[in-house]
Amino acid sequence: MKKIDPELKAVLRDFADSYRVKRAKALEGYDFEDLRTALADLKDRALERNPELLAQFEEKAKAHGGVVLRARDGDEANELILRICRDHGIRRMVKTKSMVSEEIGLNDFLIRRGVDVRETDLGEWIVQLGAERPTHMVMPAIHLTRGDVAALFSAKLGRPVPDDIPSLVRIARGEMRREIFAAQAGLTGANALIADTGAIMLVTNEGNGRLVTTVPPVHIVLASIEKVLPAIGDAIALLRLLPRNATGQSITSYVAFMAGPHRGPQYVILLDNHRSELLADLPFREILRCVKCSACLNVCPVYQVIGGEAYSHIYMGGIGTLLTAWIHGLRKAKDLAGLCLRCHRCEGSCAAKIKIADLITALAGRLRKETGAPAWKRAAFDGVMGHPGIQRAAFGTARKARKIVSGKDGFSRKLPAWMKKYDRFRALPAPAARSLSSLFRKDFVSAGAMENSAKGTVTIFGGCLVEHFYPEIGMAAARMLAKLGYRVKAAPALCCGFPPANAGFEKASRKAFASLLNRMELQGEIVTLCPTCATMLTKRGLELADSEKARELAAKTIPFSRFLLDRERESLEKLMRKERPVQKATYHDSCHHKHLSNAEGASRTLVEAALRSAIIEMEEPDRCCGFAGSFSVENPEISAALLADKLTAVEKTGADIVAMDCPGCLLQIRGGCRRRGMGLRAVHTAELLDQAIGED
């Protein structure tokens, strides 16, 4: 279980807020999509030619007088560096920040063998001084306050030091410069290796790169093999995006392109460490496009709550989980993979367009096969979701227990003790008295509403939560569509297969999706009330079932709000009551609705029309509420922290209503409002629209 440190959480949140503003400013006047598409393409081309480019780099670097050495793994790289130290009598080494050196545990390795290794990036230097672990790849000491740093410096210098930041930087500057001048070797990483000239590109802000490479006589470069690019033009393209996306700067203060040795020897160590295996492992190869800008961390809701020390083996966050799986082994990635919400927010800011969340889902499949899964997941996904009959029976049993667990307000009460940790931060809904399909059959079909067919047929796909917990959302949608002149049908009450797919249970997911596909009738459009089901029906399902019917289903499926806005905007507004009240609303972006279906704009327009007022935007409306399916079961503390932030953001708007398009978010936010005693209503967009129309 992950502990939440409130102070760290506040620091990370502030950092994320300022980063967002700076990044947006640095990207003004640039088309981020164009820049990152170009970068992803050039990285892909370079990865395709990796062995050839490495050979070219090696030849050119040697022509400049450099020594190029290849290391298969971390142990080999450490031994090579130790040998260089021994050959040149190196007792003191200074370093610039290098994630690759952390990957192989270089500092510890050398220090234990008598080489005094000192970091020179201020953040790394502080972290080393305090024997801490970095919390962020670009900002390693972000978890420490000026007071913490002053205490560390006092302990090192044996005298009190002032705790204002300029004084602290001044003190560190003096100490570090002495260390640099006393060192016999300087070690740097490389942001790029340029094949056609044998040069390395090094990007820093502080200027330590220049000192570390020119003051000590020996220069060692430690770089991983995917850093090689064909020519300077590629490095320039990388440079245009890297600092803008990493720290919101147009460019860092210092960038150096260096070819060959300076006043002493230069060694370039090219580290593989399982990257060749990754190069050959499609679709995972694109992990190696990563330029370590950390933009994904800066927008990651989980990272913002627990920080990089908790969310890492060495590399942090979602991309770190993927790198860890190859570099340090699948088992090391297992716990980390469970920390990803699969909210896909990171993918929108990735400089190299890496599909981080999708790849973590693919990784989850491998993890399950090779390292197993806990019993509850096997029971839920293999046992229940994969078998439609058992699924129906399970929900039927839950419905029977309704009388025991249900309060009058629709929330559960008297839950068993083991469920308390899931119920503490948000009240859980009780199963509905009747499922959507039962309500639909009895009340809707028998009333003849579905026979209206002037505009053709529309099938409502509610998803499991609407079917069993929130059937009123499905009925609201059905009423509305019937009033608009459609013949309305309800999709079969079956799981779409997304939850098992997400947890890596591909077989169960395939089975669930196949059962659904088999029973789906594809007349007219299929409108979804759950963005996650929409993702399954339009995208993920096609990967599981390559059939004409699956393609037809994907083509005909559309989120409810998009359908209404595209086809029925005017008719819908005509249907709405003239005297409906003006209400203040805010809107929560459900992750899949925004990041995968891009339907949040349609929903906002409809909500504003229904309430006759502009939405009051909350802070970071697209930050996950913490539900994320099984995530909230596996990580209740993080889920609770994310929900608390969401509720605070909602509360600050002063709105009467918070609208959203995902029944999962609704479960989380409505339950959270209840626990916090908030007066406002949490509703699905379909319910709001239905209320605006009112009874006939």
Partner: protein, 182 residues
């Protein structure tokens, strides 16, 4: 007459905007003579005990004659210089960046070791972006007649935000970067 619509002039203006935004100071001067006069007044009016002149400038008249006694590198055992003067080969308008084709470590260190770094920049050498000088960068890096060909891009003074994400100037390199634009 130069107008705002003139591409050369707009590049110069953009360079100045971007350099200042990155924390550099830009002083526009008539020519080398005015730059030397400016430096001499600065050295006279400030308590500058150690002043480095890049080897490249030291070899170039009139700097050779005017700064005949100045140091090219720090004496052994010294860690700091108060001020230094270097010359950039190009300026990049897109980011306010100074570009220097380094030919020796001593030259590189004049950019880094002093508290205040003065840099001469000929405003006719300002290009729009790095792509405009990519061939020059590549051919400099391909040179095998130099001990360590390097291209340095310097934008504003040395900076860090490693403590509490608060921007602080002058961690390893100069705390002031003064561009003397001629």
């Amino acid at each position: 007459m130069v107008t705002a619509a003139d591409p050369v002039n707009s590049r110069i203006e953009k360079f100045i905007d971007k350099a200042v935004a990155a924390g550099a100071e830009v002083i526009r001067l008539e020519g080398q003579g005015a730059a030397i006069a400016y430096l001499k007044i600065f050295l006279r009016d400030n308590d500058v005990r150690s002043f480095l002149v890049s080897p490249e400038l030291k070899a170039r008249p009139p700097f050779r004659e005017e700064f005949i006694g100045a140091l090219e590198m720090l004496p052994a055992g010294e860690l700091w210089a108060d001020a230094g003067i270097v010359a950039a080969d190009f300026g990049v308008a897109e980011t306010g960046t100074l570009v220097h084709f380094d030919r020796s470590d001593e030259e590189k260190n004049v950019w880094t070791l002093p508290e205040i770094c003065f840099c001469l920049l000929d405003n006719g050498k300002i290009v729009q972006d790095l792509e405009a000088i990519a061939p020059e960068l590549s051919s400099h890096l391909a040179r095998t007649d130099l001990p360590s060909p390097q291209v340095s891009l310097v934008t504003g003074p040395s900076r860090t935000a490693d403590i509490e994400n608060e921007l602080t100037i002058g961690v390893h390199g100069p705390s002031r970067l003064v561009i003397l634009m001629i």
